[in-house]
């Protein structure tokens, strides 16, 4: 029978690679092995089960934890219980996360969750403040999340924000996260996608060339095969090729109707196709737009063709 710490290590290994089912099993085993921190490991197991969308398993683990001494009030268990409730509000989750002490072994995880919560509500500055002193630690998640928040803040273009500086910092932090994950063969493709998006928005054609370097395998680029094969990375690389005037984008990954239609409109424009054909693609994008920003981009495409007349 392996040692208890080995079970913890195995669970952390599975979770780091995004396999929540295996992580839930390992953490639950650690809790069942005994020890005074069993409630914490049951909470970790429940959080992993929720990550695997196994609500029933999470519920059983939470019930086991509540029956243990100190179970009702354990801060991480409270967080897991809030997340297990499909009707939970952002305020409830925020309160539960704030209640986890700073000296808890889960403090880094909780601060990352708080930063994510801020990010979901467009509170980029608060999210970044949560991660400020964590990015210097040899961890990938705080650096990657900081990069995503900076990228999002730059795209939204909030007043008083230095967009160029945000994009540069986003790219640097994403590459830091990429290298940290590469060190243990982790999922570095998420970080490459963020770095490539930041590069694409930063410097026009030079940025597009950098995207090709980041997103393609040697000898043309520096990506690992798993990074170059990632759907998000491939989509950004396709955008960069369009910016550089290439119209043969090769096979593209399946993606939402809006993105596919908008890219098709751009590609047809670059190819000098007839306006009525290009307009069809932009109208498809307009119909599939999920936000005012997306609709504005599609309308901009139609306006460039003088094809706005039949759009309400």
């Amino acid at each position: 029978m392996p040692c208890r710490r080995c079970g913890e290590a195995l669970g952390e290994y599975a979770e780091a690679h995004g396999h929540h089912v295996a992580a839930a099993g390992a953490f639950a085993w650690v809790a069942l092995e005994g020890g005074r921190d069993g409630v914490r490991w049951l909470a970790r197991a429940a959080l992993a089960a929720l990550g695997a969308e196994q609500a029933d398993v999470a519920g059983a683990l939470l019930e086991e934890a509540r029956g243990r001494r100190g179970g009702e009030s354990h801060p991480l268990l409270v967080v897991a219980q809030v997340l297990a409730d499909p009707e939970h509000s952002a305020e409830q989750l925020g309160e539960a996360l704030v209640a986890v002490p700073a000296d808890s072994p889960d403090s880094v995880r909780v601060r990352v969750m708080r930063a994510m919560l801020h990010g979901q509500h467009g509170e980029h500055d608060q999210g970044l403040a949560q991660l400020d002193d964590l990015v210097d630690r040899p961890l990938a998640a705080p650096a990657l999340l900081s990069a995503q928040l900076l990228l999002s803040r730059a795209v939204q273009g909030a007043p008083g924000v230095d967009r160029r500086s945000d994009l540069e910092r986003a790219k640097g932090l994403a590459l830091l996260a990429r290298d940290r994950r590469r060190a243990w063969s982790g999922p570095s493709q998420e970080a490459v996608a963020v770095a490539a998006q930041a590069a694409l928005l930063t410097e026009g054609d030079a940025g597009a060339a950098e995207v090709l370097r980041l997103g393609t395998v040697p000898p043309d680029g520096e990506a690992l095969p798993i990074e170059a094969a990632d759907a998000q990375v491939r989509a950004v690389v396709a955008d960069a090729k369009l910016l550089l005037g290439e119209t043969d984008l090769g096979p593209l990954p399946a993606e939402p109707e809006y993105s596919a239609a908008l890219r098709e409109g751009l590609r047809l424009t670059r190819s000098g196709e007839r306006h009525d054909l290009v307009a069809v693609a932009y109208r498809r994008a307009l119909a599939a737009a999920g936000s005012a920003e997306q609709a504005a981009l599609a309308l901009h495409g139609l306006a460039s063709l003088n094809a706005l007349d039949d759009c309400e």
Binding site: R5, E12, W184
Partner: protein, 80 residues
Amino acid sequence: MGAVHSVAAERAAAWRERCVALPPPVCAALERVGPPDADDRLRLLHYLDELPAADVVEDLEERPPTWLRNAVPEVWGGAG
């Protein structure tokens, strides 16, 4: 005395090198493994070394170690 220090320093350096090739929380957990369980730690490291990362996690989901599968059957649908 110097030789003992040298061996200890070499082992520590080898462990640090091994650790940076693991996700930081895994390294931290393994560093807390005490001497009575050192053999288990070596077995686990051997298991992680044997397979590429993607295969290890697939292995954990498809064929979790018996001790894990038996302890938490509900996670794996009662297999075991």
